[in-house]
């Protein structure tokens, strides 16, 4: 076989869908901002509040989540194998080493947090450390590190900015609705509320789609990084086999972080894939199998 420049093919389709989703999100948001400005009154205050919230979310959410979920940092002496795996992946990915944390729960899962490459935390649960073999764990950690490389926390937080704004306006309008007295302002308020509802609904669906595409991208990144797509596939199979049998308490506390988990922490299956923030397992496995076929040169 002739010398190849890369072991894996391109993922043009996935990139195109991701860009289209972002474009549509941008379109919805632009229309939203247009309406807010056209109406004028009160919108400025809400935007300021939303910006402050956004910054708070970006800079404190990881610490808050860590504090509420009982995640604790582990030293290399405590978790030599996990640290070893992550260090080698960092060499391979040319990344600074993130903080390594463990969450003491039997639920097998892993996630990454932090807004930039310099301030990142990757976390694995006790359940996943016990369950997976080293190559499988490596695949999962490479998936999380790819989220870091792709700056997914930042992208998703920024992408959801206007959805947050819309939901804020809705909440405000329920509290202060009709308090203005002036008939003209009241009709303006109705327009804003109506638009906010639409913005919220549409951006919710688009955000979920974006989140699914970024999961595919992270799976792909993991395969490229480790050169072992099938190890990640095996890990996903193992994890998903047990995730539905874990106690409900763990699931409830974990719900808030679901977007950054490697598999969603939910007991019941979603009726519609449209509302899911992770792609269905079969699709992820199929994508990983395509990558393995490319690697073996049989695709």
């Amino acid at each position: 076989m002739a010398a190849r420049r890369t072991s894996f093919g391109k993922d043009t389709g996935l990139q195109a869908r991701m860009l289209l989703t972002m474009f549509l999100l941008g379109l919805v948001y632009a229309a939203f901002v247009g309406v807010l400005f056209a109406v004028g009154a009160g919108a400025g205050v809400i935007i300021v509040v939303a910006v402050v919230l956004l910054l708070l979310q970006l800079f404190t959410s990881d610490k808050l989540a860590m504090a509420t979920m009982g995640v604790k940092e582990v030293s290399p002496a405590q978790e030599p194998e996990l640290h070893g795996i992550i260090e080698r992946l960092c060499v391979q990915a040319d990344l600074p080493k993130p903080r390594v944390c463990v969450m003491e729960t039997p639920m097998p899962n892993a996630f990454a947090m932090g807004r930039s490459q310099k301030s990142t935390t990757v976390c694995a649960t006790r359940g996943i450390l016990d369950m997976l073999s080293p190559p499988e764990l490596e695949g999962v950690m490479a998936h999380e590190l790819t989220h870091v490389i792709n700056r997914d926390v930042m992208v998703m937080t920024l992408a959801s900015f206007f959805a947050t704004l819309a939901s804020l306006i809705l909440q405000f309008s329920f509290f202060f609705g009709g308090g203005f007295g002036n008939r003209e302002e009241e009709s303006d308020l109705e327009i804003v509320v109506l638009v906010s509802v639409i913005v919220y609904a549409v951006s919710f669906l688009l955000l979920r789609a974006l989140s699914r595409y970024r999961e595919f991208a992270a799976d792909r990144g993991s395969a490229v990084l480790t050169g072992r797509p099938s190890a990640l596939a095996s890990a996903l199979l193992k994890i998903s086999g047990t995730i539905e049998r874990v106690p409900a308490q763990d699931l409830r506390t974990a719900e808030g972080l679901s977007a950054f988990f490697i598999v969603p922490a939910r007991a019941k299956k979603s009726l519609l894939n449209l509302f899911a923030d992770h792609p269905p397992l079969e699709q992820r496995l199929a994508a990983l199998q395509r990558l393995e076929a490319q690697l073996q040169g049989t695709a």
């Binding site: 990139q15 030599p80 080698r88 391979q92 080493k97 190559p135 990144g221 073996q296």
Partner: protein, 214 residues
Amino acid sequence: MGLRDILTGRRSVKGPAPDKLFAISTAYVTLETEHQIMPSGTAAIVFQALATSDFESTLKDMEGVVTATGGDTGTTVSTQDDSYGYRWMILRSPADKPCVEDLAVGINAVSGSIETAGYGDRLLCAVFAFDDRSGPGGAAGSAPGRASRVYFIYNYKRGFWYPFVPARADGGAQTDSEQARSTERELQIKAQIGSELPIEPELERWFPLWGIPI
């Protein structure tokens, strides 16, 4: 990484940086003569072994080439997988005359053929083992104790070197079960070697490698 890569989450693994591997073949002279850090005569290269027939045949060809060229200098080659699933190719020069140049040439032949086959992005590090005889227990000390191991690690992604010194548990044998390293000694060595070796400027990228088989 550009904005487009962030937006679409594109990933490709970085290939090797411009090669500064051969810096070791001059730097070791200073280490040996001025700082009593002696070459142990072993070096290794670590990479991800892809489980594909194409990659395996590349390795087989390469091992043949390295063994053949090593025959003149007496360098032997062996292969070993570690517990993390990475493959080590270990080069040993004959015990009576450890030769860092020969080892560097051998390591370069291995990395060169992996790159030529299109798998350059799978290369992780090259490691050269040295014996540190400068402290107590070495030549300078009174009791003839064991010299401690010093590794010089070359990171292919970055094109930089850094020292790695696994710590000894209080006077006992060097072990990596505790994964302790002597950062103090590493920094001393960095200062001693000065500008002779391109040293990784970011300390947080001095990644330890545990379970080095040499």
